[in-house]
């Protein structure tokens, strides 16, 4: 059967067909939909959200050691979190086939950096596959489990945003059932005490060379011979851009397996063409290998070393051709992303933005948008879980330097569970004094609403125990009176809590508890937050003095022109923050 699927849907389907029985992931754009698509195969594959990528990877490794085909999935920076287990798992090899899906984000559509994880496959020595469309994403994922078992290597499925989020036609197949052996301890293989690990280190090189021999003659690496004046070596979605640029005016070595690289195949292809081009996104990964083989080629001299490629860029770089276009001299206004209308983070950030002389360390999530004007209430964003630890370092350093700047650390519920807990633990243990704010919107918001250990539900829809954040904070050493939970839409409540906690010279936690307005509310949400979506705000134009105080909350439901401000009824979710800041009592809350 043929269906149209995104790369992520195709990877999920491929995992099912390839005999996977266990899957784990932490959500992250552009990889999130892989695991979101797994529950439909729930009869055959168990799948779960892990609190972070390291845990996801370790759980999948455990399943592989138990003899079961398993995989984990993450965005590119997730691999940094999962690097600890995966670098050593490369040494031990697998029992059940194991795949780690890593989704890079060239162009940083939704990411804090643009690392090229092909380098990590090389550094850790993971067998790497790179599909160029949804059909290949499906086929490679399906084949990856058996390949992993055959080569005794973890496989990295390396994909990019354009593969994950593009749809194309996929021919589906049937599931392959792999036998699960009875468990037998393999201590020399899996206990990486130095005596064993040194042996594994040597056999790892042997496995890499065996895989390289396989790569020279495998179905993943394809030669397409046309005109031999130009030869192109390429992989992933870059193949599509190259193929469209040169058509049959060039020959192609399209690499689907890019670690270990097929040196003999590359040399053979290079010998058959006059000029060799390398077309790849981000780092000169293929190019460096080709040059190391002593082969002349042209790559990053012509095409950019960063950002996403497309056919226009490749065509201009190699053929010097640019398309004819319509032009206008009227400039457009940018549309920076903003906190949504009714976002429960807005009230908190508005209140925080009024406090002077503080440093605000931030984290990764929707709330990073608290940085934007008019709020400007996030000062840092480096990586997941860093707000409390960065805040702690800054706070201690400034105190020792004789500075009095107070530090507030802001992170979301899911980020807190990801790596924020040890971060806060370090602060409490070491006598820090920053105020950590957990923006608990009852869901993992940024990536499109995934369950997490605080929401009470699992990926497969089962009820689950909920992390009790105040109790957890108390258990790691915070004083009971230093932990306050507030409704972030109530500015008076937020301000009272800030007044109480900001002057304290010891670790404090403020929890803002209100659901993301876009999430699908659970019965528990409806019971706990009865006013959700029941009201909207309306501006009484007779009372309004057009002072724009409400607009300074940054709410996109407020449409401001020179003459007046109105509330857009289609987007207002009734958080009432605008009503609370209005100095003329001109905003009313009305039933929807």
């Amino acid at each position: 059967m043929k269906v149209i699927m995104s790369g992520n849907e195709a990877i999920a389907r491929g995992a099912y067909e390839g005999g996977a029985r266990f899957a784990s992931a932490y959500p992250g754009t552009p990889s999130t939909e892989i695991l979101e698509n797994m529950p439909q195969y729930g009869d055959s594959v168990y799948s779960e959200w892990a609190p972070n990528e390291k845990v996801a990877t370790e759980a999948a490794i455990g399943a592989s050691i138990a003899g079961v085909r398993s995989f984990c999935a993450m965005k590119h920076v997730g691999l940094n979190v999962a690097a600890d287990p995966i670098y050593t798992f490369a040494y031990t090899g697998v029992t059940g086939g194991f795949v780690i899906v890593v989704a890079d984000d060239p162009g940083q559509h939704s990411s804090q950096n643009e690392q090229d994880n092909r380098n990590q496959a090389k550094a850790a020595r993971l067998l790497m596959l790179e599909p160029s469309d949804s059909q290949e994403a499906h086929d490679y994922m399906k084949a990856a489990f058996e390949l992993s078992e055959k080569m005794d290597m973890p496989v990295m499925m390396h994909v990019t945003t354009r593969i994950c989020h593009s749809k194309s036609i996929v021919e589906l197949g049937d599931r392959v059932e792999a036998e699960v052996p009875d468990y037998e301890p393999k201590i020399k293989k899996y206990v990486t005490a130095p005596a064993n690990a040194k042996v594994l280190r040597a056999t790892l090189e042997e496995r890499v060379e065996k895989a390289r021999a396989f790569a020279n003659n495998c179905e993943f690496n394809k030669v397409e011979m046309h005109d031999t004046g130009i030869g192109v070596i390429t992989s992933g979605v870059s193949y599509q851009y190259a193929r469209e640029t040169f058509g049959e005016g060039a020959s192609y070595l399209k690499l689907g397996m890019t670690f270990p690289l097929p040196y003999d195949l590359i040399k053979d292809f290079a010998s058959k063409v006059d000029t060799l081009y390398i077309v790849e996104e981000m780092d000169p990964y293929l190019e460096e290998h080709v040059k190391m083989l002593g082969i002349d080629c042209i790559g990053k001299d012509k095409i950019p070393k960063y950002d996403e490629l497309n056919t226009d860029i490749v065509r201009k770089a190699f053929l010097g051709v640019e398309p004819e276009t319509y032009k206008s001299d009227v400039a457009t206004v940018v549309r920076p992303p903003a906190l949504c209308a009714g976002c429960p983070h807005r009230g908190f950030f508005y209140a925080l933005s009024k406090r002077k002389g503080i440093m605000i360390t931030g984290d990764i999530g929707c709330y990073t948008l608290g940085m934007a004007p008019p709020l400007g209430a996030i000062h840092t964003c480096i990586c997941m879980g860093a707000a409390p630890s960065q805040g702690h370092g800054a706070s201690i350093a400034m105190r020792n330097a004789g500075k009095s700047t107070k530090v507030v650390s802001v992170l979301g519920d899911s980020t807190f569970f990801h790596t924020g807990v040890p971060s806060l633990m370090g602060e409490v243990y070491n006598g820090g004094s920053n105020l950590t704010v957990v923006l608990d919107n009852r869901i993992t918001g940024m990536t499109g609403h995934q369950q997490n250990p605080g929401t009470g539900y699992t990926l497969m829809g089962k009820e689950a125990p909920e992390v009790d954040i105040p109790a957890l904070c108390k258990a790691i050493g915070l004083k009971d009176e230093n932990i306050i939970t507030v409704n972030p839409n109530d500015l008076a409540e937020v301000n009272a809590a800030l007044d109480k906690l900001l002057p304290k010279e010891e670790p404090c936690v403020l929890i803002t508890r209100w659901p993301c307005v876009l999430k699908k509310f659970s019965q528990q949400d409806i019971d706990e937050f009865p006013t959700l979506h029941k009201t909207q705000c309306v501006i009484d134009q007779d009372k309004c003095k057009n002072c724009k105080m409400c607009v300074k909350t940054g709410c996109p439901a407020l449409i401001s022109t020179k003459e007046k401000v109105v509330v857009d009824k289609t987007s207002c979710n009734g958080c009432t923050v605008c009503k609370q800041v209005c100095p003329f009592d001109a905003i009313e809350e009305v039933t929807r």
């Binding site: 043929k2 593009s166 851009y241 319509y326 206004v333």
Partner: protein
């Protein structure tokens, strides 16, 4: 080999470009075309500019519509039409929803929304502009605006009349909205 044809659906996060493109690509696949579609999710979704790219033909390679290559651009919002103008093929058609969404910098007084975009574009390229939101509201629900625009798109592309669009709407829309969306599609097509 037939030439690859290119469509861009552009708008602001939350306007329903995704459902429209889902119906479109499903119909194109059933008609026997190779189809690729690309869209970007994530941070850019939160009130940012969004685009869905659809390409079809005998064989499609890149999922991205290049500059100067879109046969039709459907702009769900006026300024987004202007933003994507350089992607329109010379001789292509710009279908524009006569509808404005103010970006944050305009709200904050840091920038001005350009005036008279539709008239300006009419002086540059072939423009088919109408108030899709009003048409959808008259049919009973302003949210069906996206399907009104889909109907206008199918008409503008030409050559897609043999596809059973009603069946595609039935397959992709909740039962209680099927009739509304069928009417919306035909209203857009017949404009």
């Amino acid at each position: 080999m037939s030439e690859v044809r290119n469509i861009l659906l552009v708008g602001v996060g939350g306007q329903g470009t995704i459902l429209a493109s889902k119906i479109l690509t499903s119909g194109l696949m059933k008609a026997g075309y190779d189809v690729k579609m690309s869209e970007i999710h994530g941070m850019s979704q939160r009130g940012g500019s969004v685009s869905t790219q659809v390409r079809y033909g005998d064989k499609v390679y890149s999922p991205i519509v290049g500059k100067g290559s879109a046969d039709v651009i459907v702009a769900f919002e006026e300024m987004e039409a202007l933003r994507w103008l350089d992607h329109l093929k010379i001789g292509g058609t710009m279908v524009i929803n006569d509808y404005q969404i103010q970006p944050v910098p305009v709200n904050l007084g840091a920038a001005e929304y350009p005036e008279g975009i539709i008239e300006h574009l009419k002086g540059i390229c072939d423009v088919h502009a109408f108030k899709a939101a009003d048409i959808a509201t008259d049919l009973g629900n302003p949210k069906a605006m996206n399907i009104v625009l889909l109907g206008a798109l199918v008409k503008s592309m030409g050559g897609l009349d043999d596809i059973d669009w009603d069946a595609e709407i039935e397959a992709n829309v909740k039962p209680k909205f099927v009739e509304l969306n069928k009417k919306a599609f035909h209203a857009g097509y017949d404009l």
